[in-house]
Amino acid sequence: MQRRRSLSSVRSPISWLSCLSAGAHVAFAQGPQTTPSILAPESTPAHEIYGLSLFVLLITGTIFVVVAGLLTYAIIKFRARGTDDQHEPAQVYGSVQVELAWTVIPVLIVVVLFLTTARIIFAIQDAPKPKSALDVTVVGHQFWWEFRYPKYGIVTANELHVPVSTAAQSEPVYLRLLSADVDHSFWVPQLGGKTDLIPNHPNEMWIDPRHTGLYLGQCAQFCGIEHAMMLLRVYVDTPDQFAAWVKNQQQPGVQDEKVAAGRHIFETQACMNCHTVTGTVAKGTFGPDLTHLMSRATIASGAATNTPDNLRAWIKDPATFKPGSLMPAMQLSDEQINQLVAYLSTLH
Amino acid sequence: MSTLPTFADETVRMPSRGTVAMVCLIVAESAIFTIFVVAYVYYIGRSTYGPTPQILNVPIFNTICLLSSSLTIVAAEHAIKHGHMRRFAALWALTMALGIEFLVGTGIEWRKMIFEDHLTIRTNLFGTTFYSLVGLHASHVIVGLLMLSLVMIFTLLGYVEQSHAERIQVLALYWHFVDAVWVVVFTVVYIVGR
């Protein structure tokens, strides 16, 4: 019994230590990873938070060791033993000095923690915005992300492309966060803390990713039935890759006569009410802009990979991947869907 | 439990349970009103369309009536404490009349706002916050009047005696609270918010 009790108090420090060492190992891993861990920061805000968290962990860990140690000691030393006499122990009602001591020390710890925290809050929230910053407007929808680049005149969805930011060439991305319906939250752990998207309450956050690659995240504020499937993909590109991507996104939708039948279906069925394809009559904004659908790796905000089969299944019935999605099943025949998919597959 | 030491010199003075309960109720109700007042204040000037607080007529007469009813109820408490039951009944009835006048006046004010100024609870933010806050207060006046009328009936039937003075005092506390809330609501809606 005694051994088990001390095990419980030892287990927690060990789990903290292993967490720390795992975190340190992961932190030295350069670049994005499929596990969106807050211990693998790849952007200045995330780094600042990570550093602060290690400091706080050190302090709270010490407090834990001291207090849990005292408690463990008390449990072992002062337990009743069969050999005890039957007298009650000495009754101690209190001590003003002791009370003062263990009030003053926590106050001092709080002061230290508070000042450290305040510094980081101001460093992140009130960081001056450099001229080289790229502005992206993020609009949260049920259950997808809209991204607008005012400088380039681009509108896209679900997969955010940003240029890499290095110490030499700093180009942070300032995200302006809006919502078209309910509350959402933009969270890509490796790139920074989350910030909420609240209707009628524009928010701002910034990231400056240091390594190229794909970073994963998802909506972090419950927004309805398919909140779990409102995933985020952030592609951090080299300057060349980014320029090429921008150039492609700026082109109007591809007009290929071979798939005219599919385009005709797109424009006459209700698709155009919700979706936009530049260069056609489709100018709907309720759903994602599909002009460059084929430039994206996933559909339905990450719910499925972007393959013709998945597209077919999605259009036939969105509930296949996302039951509760606001896109209705359009009751199209299989032939219509095939033509539609053929058309969409040309939208690079 | 047979041999606990008894110390005849020790007495602990304790408040009456009715007073404690009423004070607690008042604290709780104050919290509700605070939330509605905060919402009202936060939304001042934020209606994007529709009638503004300029349409409000300051209800001076109503306010005088309601606040005077606090004075009459104090006088009534005094009367019953000293056993003047007829004076108590008269002052109590006067308190009720002043309360009823306040409600009638509020009704007239709302009638004007709804039918002439076309302001309802669904019109805009001002409508929503105004009718909610003033309506919440008016509902408390109604509840207070219901309690007062119960006492009135019992008094007229002869069941209320001088020994009930403390219970009357507890009820009067509620009425004073309703008046105090009106002071706040009046200031926020008709002075600060306009």
Binding site: S8, P45, I49, L71, V92, P106, V107, K194, Q218, F222 | -
Partner: protein
């Protein structure tokens, strides 16, 4: 006791009248205004819904044990986590604290009943029916995809998701209405507790001689008055928006969803202190008795409790660090949240100091209280971590937060409730709970609790957000989720053992007598169970531990207490 002469007419041979028929027995429970019976009703209600909400949790954990699972549909999962949270906070937490308070407060202060027995009954039935209304939602209406109309908007129901435009069904209405009804019941119980504690104490019992549990019930009840009411106000506003066309939270009319957040958390944060303060009171009764020492620093404990209540009303926006408050606003709430940790820490130190130098007996109540001390320490420290706003920008709405508040609610609150059960069950029923089953319950629950909630901290750190019915298989969360779910099963088994213990010991438990634990407060001076009138003679006290004074006439407390 029962045979002493008293100014009560009639014989006093029986504590309760003979049982009569089943219907008569049932009727006596339905119409009762006796604080002890109402306390038991509250507690039985709470334990029932503990099992229901626990089942909801188990269903969710089965769904999340593997990625892309199809055990629960998204709609049902969303209903379950909303109902699990709402049930645990309101139908289990609030009812059990006022149930235990109802039972014990009059006994501990030497009174015969609560100040307002009929208000007491009214409050219970309001709460009970409010809760039933909440659960009626599952069957009351077809709902989305035929899943019934149970609330599915999370237990904090942010606007504008709750607007008619986004939640056209009745889910949100059930949530708002049932909680408004329950809120009135809670208010009644709080008012009653305050009136009782201030106005009905026996002779000699000054405020500073009351048991700490009574103090904590006073502070809890006072805090409740200004905690539950903001929720009621906000829910009335929500209903005005949904049914009268109001615009309180309507962004298009200039309203602000953020106002809902502020109002909700002005309720929501002090609410968790309303829940934990009675648990502190229980610990403050159990730990001294089983350490064989008076509580260390009684005045400091009172001051710390009052301090916690006051400071807890200033911290609410630490739930809103990510909504875009200014840096100054965020900084203020960081400071206030850290401040509330100070009196809380002081209490932990006082409990340890009570054990220090004692002769600790590790009966089941003390096992639960000892685990509570470790777990509450951890909970407080993860709370400090969450109070660090930048770190919270990562941890908010992740499984780290869920782990933190389950450490406070399950690991601290529930563990203290279990301690209370094992400690006072003998008083309520006259029989001891089985120590053997108690230890099985404790160790299994302890194991399962740590397996689930220790692991949960890590899956949150690895980026898993909350309120999701499934997760991607390639994010590295699979194994951790599996073990979290396994821990849930272990806890479920422990709870079943506990339920069996309560039922079986009622008939076959060892007879308890008045004072099986050799304790010191007034409730232990009555028979077990106490008669309807509690005390044959009005007690008179001279110190904080009247029974200690009787048992130690050469060394009574009143010689040493200030």
């Amino acid at each position: 006791m029962a045979d002493q002469s008293l100014p009560i007419s009639g014989p006093l041979t029986e504590a309760y009248p003979t049982r009569g028929t089943f219907l008569e027995w049932l009727h006596s429970w339905v119409v009762t205004v006796d604080h002890k019976k109402l306390g038991i009703l509250y507690i039985v209600y709470a334990v029932f819904f503990l099992l229901v909400a626990g089942a909801e949790a188990m269903a969710m954990r089965i769904q999340l044990a593997v990625p892309n699972n199809h055990f629960l549909s998204p709609e049902l999962f969303n209903e379950f986590f909303t109902m699990h949270g709402t049930t645990m906070v309101f139908l289990v937490g609030m009812t059990i604290i006022f149930g235990i308070g109802n039972y014990l407060v009059p006994l501990m202060i030497g009174a015969r009943d609560m100040a307002f027995p009929r208000l007491n009954a009214f409050s219970f039935w309001l709460s009970a029916f409010g809760g039933l209304l909440l659960y009626f939602s599952f069957v009351g209406g077809f709902g989305l995809y035929g899943m019934g109309s149970a609330p599915d908007v999370t237990w904090w129901a942010y606007a504008p998701l709750t607007a008619k435009a986004f939640t056209p069904g009745h889910n949100t209405d059930y949530w708002a209405l049932s909680l408004i009804v329950m809120g009135f019941g809670t208010l009644g119980a709080a008012i009653n507790t305050l009136a009782t504690a201030f106005s009905m104490r026996c002779r000699g019992m000054t405020l500073l001689r009351m048991p700490l549990f009574v103090w904590l019930m006073i502070v809890t009840s006072a805090l409740t008055l200004i905690t539950i009411t903001p929720l009621t106000a906000a829910q009335v506003m929500l209903i005005i928006d949904r049914y009268l066309g109001g615009h309180f939270f309507d962004a298009q009319a200039g309203g602000a969803p953020i106002v809902w957040m502020h109002f909700f958390w002005v309720f929501g944060h002090p609410e968790v202190y309303v829940l934990i303060l009675p648990a502190f009171g229980i610990a403050s009764e159990v730990i001294p008795v089983f350490s064989r020492k008076a509580i260390f620093g009684y005045p400091a404990m009172v001051a710390a409790s009052v301090g916690i209540a006051f400071v807890s009303t200033t911290v609410w926006a630490h739930h809103m660090f990510t909504v875009g408050m200014t840096s100054v606003g965020n900084t203020f709430f960081v400071l206030s949240t850290m401040m509330v940790g100070i009196p809380t820490g002081i209490k932990i130190f006082n409990w340890i100091a009570t054990m220090w130098g004692g002769k600790i007996r590790f009966a089941t109540p003390m096992l639960f209280c000892t685990a509570f001390l470790f777990q509450f320490l951890c909970a407080g420290l993860t709370g400090i971590m969450l109070s660090i706003a930048p770190w919270d920008w990562q941890l908010h709405n992740s499984y780290f937060v869920i782990a933190h508040f389950h450490y406070t609610l399950t690991g601290s609150f529930l563990f203290c409730m279990f301690a209370a059960f094992y400690y006072w069950y003998p008083k309520v029923t006259g029989r001891m709970l089985s120590e053997k089953l108690g230890k099985w319950h404790f160790w299994l629950f302890f194991l399962g609790f740590h397996l689930t909630f220790d692991t949960m901290h890590f899956v949150g750190i690895l980026g898993m957000p909350r309120s999701i019915y499934t997760y991607e298989a390639d994010r590295g969360w699979n194994t951790l989720n599996f073990w979290i779910s396994m821990g849930g099963f272990v806890q479920a088994i422990a709870i079943l053992i506990f339920a069996w213990n309560m039922i079986d010991s009622y008939r076959r438990g060892k007879e308890a007598g008045n004072d099986p634990w050799d304790a010191w407060t007034l409730e232990w001076s009555t028979p077990s169970p106490p008669p309807a009138y509690n005390f044959a003679e009005d007690p008179v006290v001279r110190s904080r531990r009247p029974l200690w004074d009787i048992k130690h006439p050469n060394d009574p407390d009143w010689k040493y207490e200030r």
